[in-house]
Every structure is written in C-alpha cells, then in structure tokens.
Symmetry: C2
Subunit: 250 residues, 2 copies
Amino acid sequence: MTATREEFEARLRQIGADRYHDKHPFHARLHGGQCSPDEVRAWVVNRWYYQSRIPMKDAAFMSRVTDPALRRAWRSRIEDHDGREGNEGGIRRWLRLAEAVGLDPDYVASGEGVMPATRFAVDAYVRFVRDETLLEAIAASLTELFAPKIHAQRIEGLLQHYDFADDSSLSYFRNRLGEAPKDVAFGLQYVLDHADTAEKQDAAAAALTFKTDVLWSQLDALWSAYVEPARIPPGAWRPGQGLLISAEAS
Amino acid sequence: MTATREEFEARLRQIGADRYHDKHPFHARLHGGQCSPDEVRAWVVNRWYYQSRIPMKDAAFMSRVTDPALRRAWRSRIEDHDGREGNEGGIRRWLRLAEAVGLDPDYVASGEGVMPATRFAVDAYVRFVRDETLLEAIAASLTELFAPKIHAQRIEGLLQHYDFADDSSLSYFRNRLGEAPKDVAFGLQYVLDHADTAEKQDAAAAALTFKTDVLWSQLDALWSAYVEPARIPPGAWRPGQGLLISAEAS
C-alpha cells in the first residue's frame, strides 16, 4: 500500500536513525579525540576519494536528466565541490584539511594510498547513480538529511581535541553546514513528489539504505586497516607515507 | 609517424573542410531562402533534439573527468545551454526560434515530432562521449572550430530571406558566435597537447570525423523526409502539427 507523504518521509528518516554512519564507532573515536594522528590521516586519505567522486557522480546524474530546470537545480552541487569565482570549493577545502594534518596535499589528491575497499564502495555509488532511476539516484543523495548533525558534532569534537583543527582546516565542514540543507530540501521534495506508488517508495527507501551502506562500509574498512586489527591492505597508505616535508622533519 | 603539432592541426581542419555540414545542400537551401516555412519548422523541430542533448553530453563528459580543473573549464558549456543568472541559455533561445517560426515551444520541447534518424545520430554522439577516451570526446567537440562561419552565414541568410528572422529569434546563433570560439580554443589546445602519438592523433581525427557524420546525417534525414522525396517517417512531425494557435489561425 502506498504510504502517505508524511509516513514515507518518516520511513526515510528512520533509515538514517538506524543506519547513518554517525553511529559508526570510528566517528565516536574521531570526534571524541581518541584517534591517533595516523588514524586521522588515514581517514583524510580515504575520505578524499569519496569527496573527489561526488562531482563526477553529480555529473553522471545530470547526464541522464532531460529537464533543463532539474539540471540547473542540480548544477550547484558540482560548483560547491569544484569551486567557482569567490568559492574555492569543497575539494580544495578537503586538501587544506589534509595539509593541516601533515599530509602532502598532492599525495592525497593522487589517490595513491586509498584502500581498495574505499574505491569499491565509492565507485559502486557512482555506478548506482549512472544506472538506476533518477528517483533512486536522488533518494540515495538524501543521506544529506542526516549530515548537518554529524558535521556540527565533528567541528566541535575536532576543535576540542586536535591541534590541527581551526577555521581554515575545518572549513570544509562549515561550508557543508550551509550547502547540504539547500541540496537536501530540493532532493527530499523531489523524492516525496515522485515516489507516488508503493513500489517507488520501496525503491527510494532501498536506494537510501544502499547509500548508508556505502558510507558505513568505508568506516568499517578504515577501522579494520588502521584501528583493529590494524591490518593495512597491500598498497594502501601506511603511516609515514605522503607526509609534508615539514611534518616529516618535526 | 607522429605528425607535428602544426601538421596535426592542419589535418583536423581539413576534416572540417571536407566533411562539415556547412557543405550540406540543406544548409544552402536554408540560408539561401529556398526553404518553405514547413521545411524550416522541420529543421527547428529536429535540431532541437541535438540542442537538448548537448548539456547531457557535456555532463556525461564531466562524469568521467577526475581533474577538478578540467571539470571547471568544461562546466560553462552546460551553463551556456541550460542558462544561468542573467543568461537564459541556448535551449530557451532555441525555443524562441521555434515560436518565431510558428511552432508551439512546448510541442518542440516535448521532442515528440523528432525523427528516429535524428535520435539515433544524436544519441550515438552522447554514447560516444560517455564511452570513448576523454581525448576522443574532446576531439569530437572540435566541430565547433567550423561553427562560427556557418552561424554568421545563417544569421545573414535568415535575416535576408525570412520574415521570422530578427534579433530575438536568431539570438541562439548570435550567442554561439561568442561562446563557440572560447570553448573550441580550450578543446583544440587540449587535443593538440594530448594527442602525442600517431595512434592518438588517428583516434582524435576519427572522433572528429565521426562527429561530422553525426551532423551530416541529421541533414540527410531532414532532406529525405521533408524535401526530396519528402517521405516523412512514421511518427515524425508533419506540417500542421504542433503549431501555435495564432499560426494555425493565420
């Protein structure tokens, strides 16, 4: 049976309550100040891959949209990440964070040390958006519904516990606090408007669930490689690699 | 053997001299004032499909680009077509031309009357850009090298021969006069820089040749359907369809 708009929105929000990666122990560790400098670096190296693929994912989405108005509404997401006049963009902000934690931003941007498990999860998301329906692609983006809370927690936790944290190094998260709600308001509206049968509601809920899996599995991989059992997979970043000269010397 | 940069650029330009659709008899007919109002309408209906797919093609390209700087440089193409603050964009300008020739812009935008042959050619281009190398995708866009000349001829010819032609209805072409050279300067530079082996030069030349085929075959289809033998394929636009009320009454 088709749920009402309100019931369906509640179902989507419950997926976040149950499965969003704010509940992953890596985030508690990161925000609580228990991460070692190398654990933070491993997170920055791997999460960069996700950041770097988001504009490609959004372009893949736009490449399937026949409605110019929908493309125009979506375009700002790419600008938010790639930058525009007067806005350096999220990808450069992430590389500033990399520098602040002692990593060479060129090394991070090369993607060399990214774990295969990270790539598999992120690439699965890009493919999902390229291959599934527009409704499912937009529903998958609705993890942004849950992002402002985790970004606020992260800013507070990092500022409290880590020397590298300041306005410059955390500017990525501060900017997302303003950008994500704008994006998600549009996306939520679209999904509520278009998921007008039980079948489409199920598909949209499954897409959002899939996306929470994409995020969660990245943190599982991070934990397994760098926290416990701390078995870094072949080829992935190892402590000491890709550091700035100044960090190596210190 | 790898050609020098100059030789290779000359080879690319020769492809335009031999095969660009400015040499197609439909264009001579259109620009020379020999097209009937219905032939002009058929051209507007079908060429709309090409226009409408160009931003999707450019998004497909961007979805494959890992370099944020290259994505940023490419993004303005989408804006040129979809519009931005203070610029209605090429797609709306095309629909103004549709209105000027007596067509209902909603009918044209629906794509209903587009010939299958037009779809096949245009969709082949979008797929090409999605599937082939970035170098080939950019090389295919280099038909823009030859566009300003045909746009200038078109503006002059249409103004001289057709009542519908004025600054508003022809604004699409006037805008392209400014946009295309900026795009193509970037694209030509990229292709000359990256086609650094004989094999890549051949691939880039083949991509540009393919693109001239995409453009040419659209005009062949138009001629066959609406000029001679004037055998309109099933489902395609027929004279009298999709007219504005005011045009029907006149």
